[in-house]
Symmetry: C2
């Protein structure tokens, strides 16, 4: 379909936004002649469009952008129950959304998902292009080729050939990825931060996950387990260290996860609702303050360790808006900063971001979009 040259152009425009042929020639270090030919192909194929004239000295340049109806992508999140299925355009705009109960038995799960994919594909109207692929985000470990779920505790899956089965049910290319990894890849492609070769993402939910983009590529680790931080021993020597489901004590997850925070609130006789807890803390309720302080401090220490080890240009923390304005975030930030050595003039950017309900599914769609735009070996 596309040659390597075509993919280089598409991925550049996908990452850096619309630009002229001359810009492309500069960025890609290719001759104007090559760009001219490659762009012509992409225009006739209906993937790019000439979308504006930019006037300066000399002949105006024509900015080239992705056509939003070039192709559509399906993203499926198995991160939580209900399962989310979205259809997006190449910019990550959601064109359609479905929710479904999560089914653990693989075959039944795939059949019900395939039925939704079928329906969504048929529903595409004027605005959307043909579906180019399916991305699936799921908790657990995924094989390096993004086809097989090696192990997922949450789903109870071991060595399930997700891409194979879904592929033969739908006839579309399928890409499977760990949920947090899918999330960061979605951020990378659709997040609108331009081209950041090195950044990390931490997701705070009922569990805690992190993922890293290093040198522009997802870092999956030698065994696909990179980014595990939920069981980092943070409160290890504290006398109050809680036992964790992993068998150790004092894991980050036992203090800072939303589940842990709600649990601590219940134990203290408070409502297990984050908004209420934050409000109580803001009013000065000592137990509420203590719980959020402890959780924020623990996460802050873990973030500091991440920053020291990985040194990302930017750290995106996905956190419930209910917590964002609370003492939790304040303490987290402060604790992180005290434990990060800083060379003068050098600063890492910390970004707080509220997870949207579609975040994981959009990330999953991004997997398919990356394959379409970037080609076979983009990660």
């Amino acid at each position: 379909m596309f040659s390597a040259g075509h993919h280089r152009i598409l991925s550049t425009i996908g990452r850096l936004g619309p630009m002229s042929r001359t810009d492309l020639s500069r960025v890609l270090a290719l001759s104007k002649a090559s760009i001219s030919m490659l762009v012509r192909d992409l225009l006739t194929q209906g993937v790019l469009r000439e979308q504006a004239l930019v006037f300066g000295q000399g002949r105006p340049s024509v900015t080239l952008g992705l056509r939003s109806d070039a192709a559509s992508f399906i993203g499926i999140s198995l991160h939580a129950d209900p399962v989310t299925i979205v259809l997006t355009d190449p910019y990550g705009e959601v064109l359609a959304r479905h929710l479904q109960p999560r089914i653990s038995e693989p075959e039944a799960c795939f059949r019900s998902l395939a039925a939704v994919v079928e329906a969504v594909t048929r529903e595409i109207g004027e605005g959307g292009g043909p579906v180019a692929g399916i991305g699936i985000a799921q908790p657990g470990f995924v094989s390096r080729d993004r086809r097989v779920c090696l192990a997922s505790a949450a789903l109870g899956w071991v060595d399930v050939d997700v891409a194979g089965r879904m592929g033969s049910l739908t006839g579309l290319p399928v890409f499977v990825e760990n949920d947090t990894n899918a999330l960061i890849l979605g951020e990378q492609l659709f997040g609108g931060f331009g081209d950041r070769p090195d950044f990390s993402l931490v997701f705070l939910g009922d569990g805690i996950g992190s993922a890293h983009i290093i040198g522009g590529r997802l870092h999956r680790g030698a065994h696909g387990g990179a980014g595990e931080m939920a069981h980092s021993p943070i409160a290890i020597d504290s006398h109050a260290a809680l036992p964790c489901r992993c068998g150790n004590k004092g894991c980050l997850e036992t203090v800072a996860s939303l589940r842990a925070i709600r649990g601590a609130a219940r134990q203290a006789g408070l409502e297990d609702d984050l908004a209420l807890l934050s409000a109580r803390a803001a009013d000065g309720h000592p137990d509420a303050l203590a719980i959020l302080h402890r959780a924020g401090a623990a996460l802050g220490v873990a973030l500091a360790q991440l920053v020291q080890m990985i040194d990302p240009a930017q750290l995106v923390v996905m956190i419930e808006p209910d917590l964002e304005q609370s003492v939790f975030t304040r303490v987290m930030r402060q604790e992180m900063e005290t434990h990060v050595l800083r060379r003068s003039g050098v600063q890492m950017e910390l970004v707080l971001r509220a997870p949207e309900p579609d975040s994981f599914a959009k990330g999953a769609a991004g997997l398919a979009a990356k394959h379409y735009l970037f080609g076979e070996d983009w990660a």
Copy 2:
């Protein structure tokens, strides 16, 4: 000098060891025709040699190896006082070694180093090829282009154009790198472990440093600060947390560095010698045991965090042989393992390795060797 194709062949043989043309064609996914031509060039240029016949079915294959007299490389370690300067061949074999006092004032330092380089270059006899470049390993931060020392606390340097000055003094290409980074790059090239795309190295000395090879490339971080672990807050809530020179308390360095171990030994009224301390611990001396146990446990926790976050295929810990057989190492390993979640059947390899006196200088020479073998943009 060499084309990209030539570099691909040289780097493959440098990393994976000698191999036949047909092997190269398989590994590099290039046609036999291309390999044939490229190899011919390298043979006539005296960089490769046909070094053995391997008999199997059919025509025997000719293994191609790097000629050890193809080129020599100079490595300079500013890691500690005395400065070490070595001359190596492309296999990392040390052909000559010089020691010099470390001079802080940049210009004087460069002049004295350049004089040694001059002398070493003249001394090369039969065995060695022409000097192809100089690598410099130094504590502190280095610019992304490996030319400028941005900041080095140990040397007191800020924005010193090391490569520029040394280059004009010697007329050779110069590459500067952080000392721990140079060490891991040396391990990668000369370590004899073949081709490991993902591994990490921790150096335990008076300070503690780590470095990571990710996807076959050094991970330097967005600000060149990746791998910092000396100030990871490990013993953070312990009542015995010691103040650290960084201003915080409970940093890894305050417990596990050799300096800290020796300091703790002195405080306990013991000799500040690692071998003696290990021996005492082996005899059951309670203070010695406590000191080594505490240090080993702290490092073990830090290693666990590293493994969880990065998930390397292999973790090389460079540690004094005096400690290697002691309770320190035993506790370190055990503590690390209890805090690493393991998926069944998946194992990370922990390698203990004694630092040689030339380790840093050899790593530095490796910088120049990589440039020679791999071409401009290898990291």
